[in-house]
């Protein structure tokens, strides 16, 4: 076991996957010689050569469209979109193409492609480096959407994504790259080296897509979260003393319906914590899943804690970001119902 940051574990995943399968290729803006603006692909070009890891033009529709073609050819491209906020020019290639090629050709053609992108806020990135667009992928039939919360999962899930025979959107919460951020922005940064999930095997392993993980067992209330919000929820549970069961969804599509239903049926209460905007966001889908599957077990209305329905602000980041104070308040509120 080695101690890795999430950047190192993501890099290690691509390294392992490229070593194992010569059909894995990596490209994107700044990912070749330089190794990516977040350094996730550092060293890959040197190790595997510029045929398998290279820079791409600043064209997200081109990067994703070319990756679709390569995947159809038989490669397993793993491409990087520099920030999730920049994915929109490539969205047509995801929503209309990658997601439907297996279906519309009845399996004649397939797209085993992974699209990585840093997501979420907490780094003073303003509206163009902070968005959480996962709902836009989860809403598209045919795409899978993965959002890890720690270095161990990031590596295992990324290898599983690259090996998956369907297109996978792999969203990396950028605020977690260097440590498990719990929303207390005024406190010193905790590095992954002091965290048990910063312990990552150096070789090959996978974490299956579509399986949630219980980060904290509890009996009072179920918290559904993913990415950065897992750590915020853990902090909120500790600070309020509410015995929360914290489910880290890890993959939002396919969604682990059984894990969600089992936990909410057990606790009878549910708080949903999602960094993205509220209206029509994935938090709404989670709310619907709980209502459809667990209504008769609920002892209190389900509460959502999310980003506000505004563009992501710059100076007011911490008033926007759903931190432990807001999550803690929701935990207390959901417990008030008797």
């Amino acid at each position: 076991m080695a101690r890795m940051t999430m950047i190192e574990s993501i890099r290690s995943a691509m390294d392992v996957a490229m070593e194992k399968d010569p059909n894995v290729v990596v490209f994107g803006e700044d990912v070749g010689y330089f190794g990516g603006v977040f350094r996730c692909t550092q060293g890959l070009q040197k190790k595997f050569g510029s045929q398998r890891c290279f820079d791409a033009p600043i064209s997200e529709s081109g990067i994703i469209g070319a990756a679709v073609g390569m995947a159809v050819y038989g490669l397993r491209p793993c491409v990087e979109i520099q920030f999730a906020d920049y994915v929109y020019p490539g969205y047509d290639q995801l929503a209309s193409e990658a997601s439907r090629i297996r279906y519309r050709s009845a399996g004649e053609f397939t797209v085993p492609m992974t699209v990585r992108m840093p997501t979420g806020g907490g780094i003073f990135g303003g509206q163009t480096h902070s968005q959480s667009p996962e709902t836009l992928f989860a809403h598209v039939s045919g795409l899978k959407t993965v959002i890890p919360s720690n270095p161990y999962d990031a590596k295992g899930l990324l290898i599983a994504s690259i090996e998956d025979d369907d297109p996978v959107m792999f969203l990396e919460p950028k605020r977690l790259y260097n440590g498990p951020f719990d929303g207390h922005h005024d406190r010193p940064v905790t590095p992954w080296k002091n965290h048990e999930l910063g312990e990552v095997p150096e070789g090959y392993f996978t974490v299956p897509l579509g399986k949630a993980a219980t980060r904290r067992e509890g009996s009072d209330v179920t918290v559904l979260a993913y990415g950065t919000m897992v750590h915020v929820a853990l902090a909120a549970a500790e600070e309020t003393g509410v015995d929360a069961e914290i489910i880290d969804l890890r993959t939002i599509l396919p969604l682990d319906l059984e894990a969600i239903e089992a936990s909410v049926r057990k606790t009878g209460r549910c708080v949903i914590v999602v960094e993205a905007t509220k209206t029509c966001g994935f938090s709404a889908e989670l709310m619907a899943v709980v209502m459809e599957g667990c209504f008769h077990h609920l002892e209190a209305p389900v509460i959502r804690v999310t980003g506000w329905d505004t563009p992501y602000p710059h100076a007011h980041e911490w008033e926007y970001f759903p931190g432990p104070k807001r999550v803690g308040a929701a935990l207390k509120k959901v417990m008030e119902h008797t």
Partner: protein, 414 residues
């Protein structure tokens, strides 16, 4: 045509208009049509900078008399030309039957390639097994010239129980790995950059296969066209970028996609991509240029852009009526003629064909198409079924169905 005045304080928007609208006399007098045989033929490893003229010219082989002339002639023997004629006649007869089948309510929709049969049929003959086309919805000639089963195409059009696409796609949206025909998207232009990516894959793997991307002149305005040209110029993969300029994008004339400036072929020049313009209704010219471009790709010399100048003689689709936006007789005055008539005249001139044999062949092809149609209809039509089992609509969303789809399928009782 409104022109901007160069007086201060009188700004106005320039909106290009076609030369003719319904009621007008069709007029192609402004169209540049070089004589057959006039365009030069450079070596395949030519410096793209040295052939800019070919992006503004029109490479033509068959002259008015039906003779094959100039440096691009002589690529095909008589048997190959007779086969080409048969492919085009088959495509036309197939289109006519399927157009009629739609009118008879046997399917929802159809799109003919009427008038532009030479483009896909001739191009296909320059490709090899294993190569991949990323076509638009009007390149069914690639399938027919490639020897794909007519009956299976009809099964797809009818969405019947033998439809390989299991009733999931609109008619004409075929797909076949074996026949090098990538699954058609109804979204325009998306396939153009995918063709480049496929060819990049072939190059990365040190393979020998090449790709051809296809796009209509109207959808060159989409961003995928431009990203395709960027990626093709950057990585120089073995791809041929085909622009089929059939003059009309539904009701929109070609000037809306390009302004009244330059040509579609010349779009490639700024990218350093060799770009040629060819008479799309000249089977021999299409084949010769396709062969030139395929050879470049196979020799690892990189991409080629080709503009096929042709004319969409039919409606855009069965949902379209072109008399609402262009003169009725425009197609009959198209100066590059009809591809079947031109190849037929050439073969007759050579003593390889006759009116009589042509009539016989036409009747025989029509009878074969009719037989195929009858066979296909035994397996169902769109509104009368049978179709693939309804439960199969839940298949192939993913390789393995996730729990939410399993539950929805149960809920649907399928």
């Amino acid at each position: 045509m409104s022109k901007k005045k160069s007086e201060p304080g009188s700004l106005s928007l320039y909106v290009p208009e076609p030369e003719c609208r319904p009621g007008d006399h069709p007029d192609f007098s402004e169209m540049l049509i070089p004589k057959a045989g006039e365009a030069r033929k450079p070596p395949v490893d030519v410096d793209p900078m040295d052939i800019h003229d070919l992006a503004y010219s029109v490479i033509r082989v068959l002259n008015k008399k039906g003779e094959a002339v100039g440096p691009w002639a002589g690529e095909l023997d008589d048997d190959a030309l007779l086969e080409g004629l048969r492919h085009m006649m088959t495509l036309r007869a197939f289109d006519a039957r399927m157009q009629m089948a739609q009118r008879q309510g046997k399917t929802s929709f159809y799109m003919q390639a009427l008038g532009e049969e030479a483009v896909a049929c001739a191009f296909r003959m320059a490709m090899k097994p294993g190569d991949m086309n990323f076509p638009t919805y009007r390149q069914q000639g690639l399938m027919i010239a490639g020897g794909y089963s007519i009956e299976t195409m009809m099964n797809q059009i009818y969405s019947n129980e033998l439809d390989p696409m299991k009733g999931r796609q609109l008619p004409v949206m075929y797909a076949s790995q074996e026949f090098g025909y990538f699954t058609i998207s109804g979204n325009l232009a998306t396939q153009f950059i995918q063709a480049v990516g496929w060819a990049m894959g072939s190059a990365i793997k040190g393979d020998t296969k090449i790709a051809a991307g296809w796009i209509g002149e109207g959808s060159t305005a989409e961003n995928d066209f431009h990203s395709a040209l960027v990626f093709a110029s950057t990585y120089k993969p073995p791809v041929i970028l085909n622009v089929v300029n059939n003059q009309w994008a539904i009701s929109t004339f070609q000037g809306i996609a390009r302004g009244n400036a330059a040509t579609f072929a010349s779009r490639g020049l700024g990218f350093g991509i060799p770009s040629l313009r060819v008479d799309g209704n000249d089977y021999l010219a299409v084949y010769a240029v396709a062969k030139w471009a395929c050879e470049r790709a196979r020799l690892n010399l990189g991409p080629t852009l080709i503009e096929f100048v042709t004319y969409r003689a039919g409606a855009h689709s069965t949902s379209d009526d072109p008399t609402g936006y262009r003169p009725k007789d425009e197609s009959s005055t198209w100066p590059l003629g009809d591809p079947i008539e031109r190849l037929k005249a050439h073969l007759i001139l050579k003593g390889e064909w006759s009116e009589e044999r042509h009539t016989q062949a036409k009747a025989q092809i029509e009878s074969e198409i009719l037989q195929a149609q009858k066979a296909a209809e035994k397996h169902g039509t769109l509104h009368n079924g049978p179709h693939a089992p309804a439960g199969s609509m839940f298949d192939d969303v993913y390789k393995e169905p996730p729990i939410h789809l399993i539950r929805q399928r149960q809920e649907a009782g399928l």
